[in-house]
């Protein structure tokens, strides 16, 4: 049995062990039945539209890349959502895909949240504007799978993606990950911060900002997690992180401004706690700010995002071609160019296909080796803790 099929069996066995309640069981079967009827009709509709083109495949290897490309080109369009062009080099990824296959892309709501992406799948069901593919955080990937929003697809390189970063049945696959970093304006910040403890120094009064509030921004939650790791906490205990920010606030170092390209360029947020791929991109984008990035070695927290295909995608073949592209060496290296770690990083470095220049642009691999990812249980617990403690301890 191949790798992922084994996982599939395992997964179903685990699910049975959990022992679902009767009502959720009923709901799932109804949803599954509805899903089946829904899934069958686009297949028929597609067949009639393309005069005989087959239903979209489950496995990239079986269908063959040539068929996928041909059918995708016939569809001619791809709808993406919530892909900011300056986020991990998505801009170049989108334009490379467009030029390579001649398929036009409509990118909606570039700053949308994962919740909005799943919501769009639901509200635009049956509409030609519905997103074909989504890029969501793992929590929403899991809940989206549970709500039968996604189609199963195992791309050609599925096997080389680490097990911890994908759904064994093919509902979603992790695409890239990053670690929380501290970016700073070297013109305004004379003594560079190197660790989490450093940030408490009085030199940084009124200078430290997050990328939004942890009550709504995933990268801010990650910032609190990383601070927790750097202050004696763990993946199961985020309260040291919340306390750290409370200390930062009472000492006057923390400013509740969301760091954006504007605030970085203007110097309003001289120190920004944010994803490494975002901070590193600022270095190139704003040379006048003298932006430098450090991943604090006393607390390295990482998170990945997940690709999924809409179960009712208006352009199912284009959606699958998109995944094939993203997980090809070319696509993965484009993400690396955007300073993020692509999912197939280990596989590609084993095969020595990674250009040294790209690696050199990132902080040392030894720091990244320490990275910790939180699983969905830990995430849920952490978010609950933040929801109850953050407003009173840090918010005014």
């Amino acid at each position: 049995m191949e790798d992922y099929e084994e996982q599939e069996v395992e997964f179903w066995r685990k699910l049975e062990e959990e022992g679902m309640s009767r009502s959720s069981m009923l709901r799932r079967s109804i949803a599954a039945a509805a899903g089946l009827t829904v899934l069958s009709s686009p297949g028929i509709a597609l067949a009639s539209r393309f005069g005989g083109a087959a239903a979209p495949p489950l496995r990239g290897k079986t269908a063959g890349l040539k068929t996928i490309i041909a059918n995708a080109k016939q569809e001619g369009k791809l709808n993406t959502i919530a892909l900011p062009p300056d986020w991990a080099n998505y801009g170049e990824i989108l334009s490379t895909f467009k030029t390579k296959y001649g398929i036009s892309i409509t990118n909606d709501n570039p700053d949308g949240s994962s919740a909005q992406e799943n919501q769009a799948i639901v509200s635009l069901k049956g509409d030609s504007r519905a997103p074909d593919v989504v890029d969501v955080s793992p929590g929403f990937a899991i809940s989206g799978t549970r709500s039968d929003l996604y189609a199963r697809y195992l791309n050609t390189n599925f096997g080389t993606i680490p097990n911890s970063m994908k759904d064994g049945r093919g509902y979603w696959t992790g695409d890239y990950w990053g670690a929380v970093s501290i970016g700073y304006n070297s013109n305004l910040v004379k003594t560079p911060p190197k660790t989490w403890q450093d940030l408490l120094k009085s030199d940084y009064k009124g200078k430290v900002a997050l990328n939004g509030s942890p009550l709504t921004s995933g990268s801010a939650v990650a910032g609190v997690f990383a601070a927790a790791l750097g202050n004696g906490g763990s993946l199961s205990d985020i309260s040291p992180g919340i306390d750290f920010f409370a200390k930062l606030k009472s000492s006057g170092n923390f400013i509740p401004v969301q760091s954006t390209p504007q605030t970085v360029a203007s110097g309003q947020t001289p120190i920004s706690i944010d994803w490494d791929y975002l901070n590193l991109a600022y270095t190139k984008e704003f040379p006048s700010a003298g932006w430098k990035v450090v991943v604090p070695s006393d607390g390295v927290y990482g998170a990945y995002y997940c690709q999924a295909i809409n179960a009712n995608a208006p352009h199912p073949w284009a959606a699958r071609l998109w995944e094939e592209f993203l997980y090809s060496d070319q696509g993965q290296l484009l993400w690396l160019k955007g300073y993020s770690h692509p999912a197939r990083f280990q596989d590609m470095s084993k095969r020595n296909v990674i250009p040294k220049a790209l690696l050199a642009a990132l902080p040392a691999a030894s720091i990244y080796a320490k990275v910790k990812f939180a699983n969905s249980t830990q995430q849920t617990a952490a978010k609950a803790k933040i929801a109850s403690d953050w407003p009173s301890k840090v918010g005014s």
């Binding site: 900011p84 300056d86 709501n109 509200s123 509409d127 390209p261 504007q262 360029a265 203007s266 006048s288």
Partner: protein, 261 residues
């Protein structure tokens, strides 16, 4: 002009202009020096196809919203002032509901309720989006029109007009409308500004309007964002000035019926 008026105006102008000046100074910067003075950011905005495309969509949406709003609310408010004064507090109360239901929540409800409707309504901004913008403009339209109708003597005007043999439509268009012109224009200004500034609903229903473009540039660019802010401010202001001239040009001197007392 009295001294007090001059002082008020001076303070007001200072409060409103200084933040705009600060934005302007920032928009003149460019990399790699990060300092003044370049017009690169403005060039970036003006040469961006999306800028013109979304601007056009939002403008047309605004005109549509204004027309529908006036068509629905002017006769209603007129009628309420004329015949049904006890209905007025009810409608005033209803006018507060659009505030209570935040756009984020309203749009989800809207999309759920109207999902099965034909594509020309559901999938085009001229349908469902215009419909909800009329609702968003409703509080502002109502209170502006209400203030306007209060300041004229509706009963005398109507009776005079009717005793001269005019029908209801003639009364409404030729007698009442010119007299509440100021109020109707104020309401229209607000409707225009609302449409040019509304982000949440357009975003969640996946339409590409101008505020969407504005927000996107604000989140991803630094200096062009400031340039765009000022450009959009200027454009909306110019649109209002033209609305003003349209409103002024259409009417001759307001009829003297009101002044006859």
């Amino acid at each position: 002009m009295t001294l007090s008026a001059a002082v008020w105006l001076f303070l007001g102008i200072a409060y409103f202009l200084i933040p705009l000046v600060a934005t302007f100074l920032f928009s003149l910067r460019a990399e790699p020096s990060g300092k003044c003075c370049h017009l690169k950011s403005y060039g970036f905005v003006v040469h961006n196809g999306d800028f013109w495309h979304t601007l056009r969509i939002s403008f047309m949406l605004a005109i549509e919203t204004i027309v529908i709003s006036l068509a629905i609310f002017v006769p209603t408010v007129y009628w309420v002032h004329l015949k049904l004064p006890r209905l007025r507090p009810v409608i005033a109360f209803l006018a507060l509901i659009p505030f209570v239901v935040p756009p984020i929540v309203l749009v989800i409800g809207l999309l759920n309720v109207y999902r099965g409707t034909p594509a020309w309504f559901y999938a085009k901004p001229w349908g469902i989006l215009a419909a909800v913008y009329v609702i968003l403009a409703f509080p502002y339209m109502f209170f502006a029109l209400d203030a306007g109708f209060r300041s004229i003597d509706v009963h005398t005007l109507t009776e005079a007009s009717q005793s001269l043999g005019a029908s209801w439509p003639t009364t409404l268009f030729k007698v009442i409308l010119p007299n509440i012109r100021v109020a109707a224009l104020a309401g229209s200004f607000l409707a225009l500004a609302i449409v040019m500034g509304e982000f949440t609903i357009a975003n969640l229903s996946q339409f590409h309007t101008f505020p969407i473009f504005l927000q996107y540039v604000n989140e991803t660019q630094a200096y062009p964002a400031a340039a765009l802010t000022l450009l959009s401010f200027g454009i909306t202001w110019a649109a209002m000035l033209s609305l003003l001239f349209v409103g002024r040009g259409r009417t001759s001197r307001p009829t003297l019926i009101a002044g006859g007392r």
